[in-house]
């Protein structure tokens, strides 16, 4: 189809909680907005999968303050969070929660009319609001979607992948991409570009986020000249579903039930073990995610794992009526697949869940490239080496709002359409070469199969437990996969040209995988989510690792010492 050439004040890439909020905030400030997503607007990404908790110091369950939320988050970060970002997020948390409520996100209330705030590990106060036990993310996405849907200042473009941020004279001036349903190339001249593309967990074989979380934003930002930080820091969610195989459930859904019902974690010998690692008291749930993940793997390593290599999650001591009350319709989904929680235990094991590192921004969400901003899971700074339960949606909503405000307030009146048009021609040429290195009638290989190979390499070599030899092997295999990907040639695009997305996604997955492995090799210690079996000490001097792409397109990794005890 004919190319589409568009202009706007603010381009927002990605429509999870951060992107939706950024679009809303920019439009509130009077800016014209274009909001794009690879998937359907508000349906892809991680927000829609968020189960329950949104941490915010409202102080409705008990006395609380943003200062205590700040301290808890800093402590949970194992010394690596950026205090400026943490402060920016926690301070505006209460405000955005109330704003979201105005959009129809109905936070649960107690009988006396206060907002319910639940306790979550790592938070010293009961501060997590929720809509319901399994659907807080879905409800948040639905509310924000309504808040942007009919605003004439916000133009929505679904099934659009952005492949390049255009930088002219050191400033981001727009972006290039294409729409996949009908295959239509697109250029967008914009005063500011906000990346809100989420994380990269799709690079791991076992992962809990949507399939489209392929790390695009890290690559777009780095190629535009932005700095990324701590790419080796990927959070593994400790008790994701492992066995028996189930359909129609989110693999991380067990967590809120464990909060609520005190489900027990048992090793393969059916013994409790969390007390040995974190002093966690039986039936309580206080260990942070990094601690629980490590404890499960230590048991597996010691030969005390379950048959499929995880731990048992046990609710059999909970009376049937309480189970039914808590699990609601989920109990039928389970029973229809042969799982009776009154009698059966399930097996759980860690799964890649959240990207902790990411694009470095200041407290106004500016990257070091003028005109280019980032928000949500994509940024670095809020979580350090370990994310507390409940801090992700808060981060997405607040940083989305801040990015939208900054972009709108700092917009320039003149758009550089000429530069964007020129970049468009070059990018289309590059993409044609990239997609079709040789003429073929049919795709020469399945990209979905290619991605699966990459995911296995990353899980094995750079997953929850890392060693120098394993990481080096992964790096070699990634290089070989890179050559394999270069040779894959695609048929001429027709309708719903999923393969075009998939080859670009595969390239982005390789690029961020390489960063994860390089950083994991550099970081010769165990800290939070990053576990080196060959370096099990945590160094007293915390360091962040900075990543930039050089002119050849290779990662350059530099250690940045941080103030100890920060």
């Amino acid at each position: 189809m004919e190319p589409l050439h568009l202009q706007t004040d603010v381009l927002v890439v990605g429509s999870g909680a951060a992107g939706l909020m950024a679009a809303r905030a920019a439009a509130d400030e009077g800016a014209r907005v274009i909001l794009t997503d690879k998937s359907l607007i508000s349906r892809g990404g991680a927000t829609i999968l968020a189960q329950m908790t949104v941490a915010v110091a409202l102080g409705e369950a008990e006395e609380d303050s943003t200062e205590i939320h700040f301290e808890d988050t800093m402590k949970g970060s194992r010394g690596l969070a950026d205090p400026k970002i943490v402060r920016a997020v926690v301070e505006r948390g209460p405000e955005v929660i109330l704003e979201a409520e105005g959009y129809g996100v109905k936070w649960a209330r107690t009988p006396d009319g206060k907002r319910s705030q639940a306790f979550a590990p790592g938070h010293s106060k009961a501060r997590c609001v929720y809509v319901d036990i399994l659907n807080t993310g879905g409800a948040t996405a639905a509310g924000l979607k309504k808040a942007i849907w009919k605003d004439e200042k916000i133009q929505r473009l679904k099934n659009v992948m952005i492949t390049k941020v255009v930088v002219e004279n050191g400033r981001a001036v727009g972006a290039i991409g294409f729409e996949m349903e009908e295959y239509r190339p697109i250029s967008i001249a914009a005063s500011s570009v906000i990346l809100a593309t989420g994380g990269l967990t799709e690079v791991f074989e076992r992962n809990s986020a949507s399939a489209n979380m392929t790390g695009d934003g890290f690559v777009l930002a780095a190629e535009a000249g932005a700095e990324v930080r701590d790419m080796e820091m990927v959070q593994f969610f400790p008790i994701a579903h492992l066995f028996p195989p189930l359909v129609g459930i989110d693999p991380i859904m067990w967590d809120p039930f464990r909060y609520k019902l005190g489900g027990r974690l048992l090793n393969g010998l059916k013994e409790e073990f969390m007390d040995k690692y974190n002093g966690e008291v039986a039936g309580k749930y206080t260990a942070a995610r990094d601690q629980t993940t490590l404890a499960i793997f230590r048991e597996v390593e010691a030969g005390r794992g379950t048959p499929h290599g995880g731990a048992y999650l046990d609710f059999t001591m909970v009376p049937e009526d309480k189970l039914k009350e808590a699990f609601g319709p989920v109990i039928d989904i389970l029973r229809n697949q042969g799982v009776d929680l009154t009698k059966d235990m399930v097996e759980v094991a860690p799964m890649a869940h959240f990207m902790l590192g990411g694009v470095r921004v200041d407290e106004a969400m500016r990257t070091r490239v003028p005109g280019l901003l980032a928000s949500g899971e994509l940024i670095y700074g809020m979580h350090g080496a370990n994310r507390l339960s409940g801090n992700a949606i808060t981060e997405a909503l607040v940083t989305g709002r801040i990015a939208g405000e900054t972009a709108a307030r700092e917009k320039s009146d003149a758009l550089d359409e000429a530069a964007v048009r020129q970049a468009f021609e070059r990018e289309m040429e590059r993409l044609t070469q990239f997609w079709h290195p040789t003429p073929v009638e049919r795709d020469s290989a399945s990209l979905q199969a290619f991605k699966r190979k990459l995911q296995k390499v990353m899980w094995k070599g750079a997953g929850p437990l890392r060693t120098e030899s394993g990481l080096k092997e992964a790096l070699t295999e990634l290089k070989a996969l890179g050559s394999e990907l270069d040779r894959i040639s695609l048929a001429k695009p027709g309708k719903f040209a999923l393969s075009l997305f998939e080859k670009l996604e595969a390239a982005n997955m390789l690029k961020v995988s390489e960063a994860i492995v390089l950083g994991a090799l550099e970081r010769k210690e165990t800290r939070g989510a990053h576990v080196r079996l060959d370096y099990d000490e945590t160094l007293s001097q915390p360091s962040s690792y900075s990543y930039v792409l050089n002119e050849a397109g290779d990662w350059v990794v530099t250690e940045v010492p941080l103030p100890a005890g920060s």
Partner: protein, 103 residues
């Protein structure tokens, strides 16, 4: 080896619709979406289907008619030895294979 047979609508508005049969090796706990992934990986990478969350019944992108009834491909178990008819949703413009113009 146990298999599941998928009888699926392929094509687009220009080429027209036709049913294609695929015999997919059954794996314990397989969903219909997993079976389609097997086809995309081993038989035809150009098979079009919308999906995002893949397993959680959250994104609602993988909607289709399964044996005449609307459902989510990620949430329906494949049954070994069975044959399932899968068609795109009606009421939305059809794009290609199982993909329709959802918002």
């Amino acid at each position: 080896m146990a298999t599941v047979t998928l009888n699926v609508v392929r094509g687009d508005a220009e080429s027209g619709a036709s049913f294609e049969k695929y015999e997919v090796p059954f794996r314990d706990g397989m969903s219909l979406l997993d079976a389609i992934f097997w086809i995309r990986e081993h038989v035809d990478p150009s098979f079009s289907v919308r999906y995002s969350c893949r397993s959680a019944n959250a994104c609602k992108e993988c909607s289709a008619f399964v044996d005449g009834k609307p459902g989510y491909l990620c949430s329906i178990r494949a049954v070994p030895g069975s044959e399932v008819k899968i068609e795109p949703l009606t009421g939305r413009p059809w794009i290609k294979d199982l993909a329709t113009a959802l918002e």
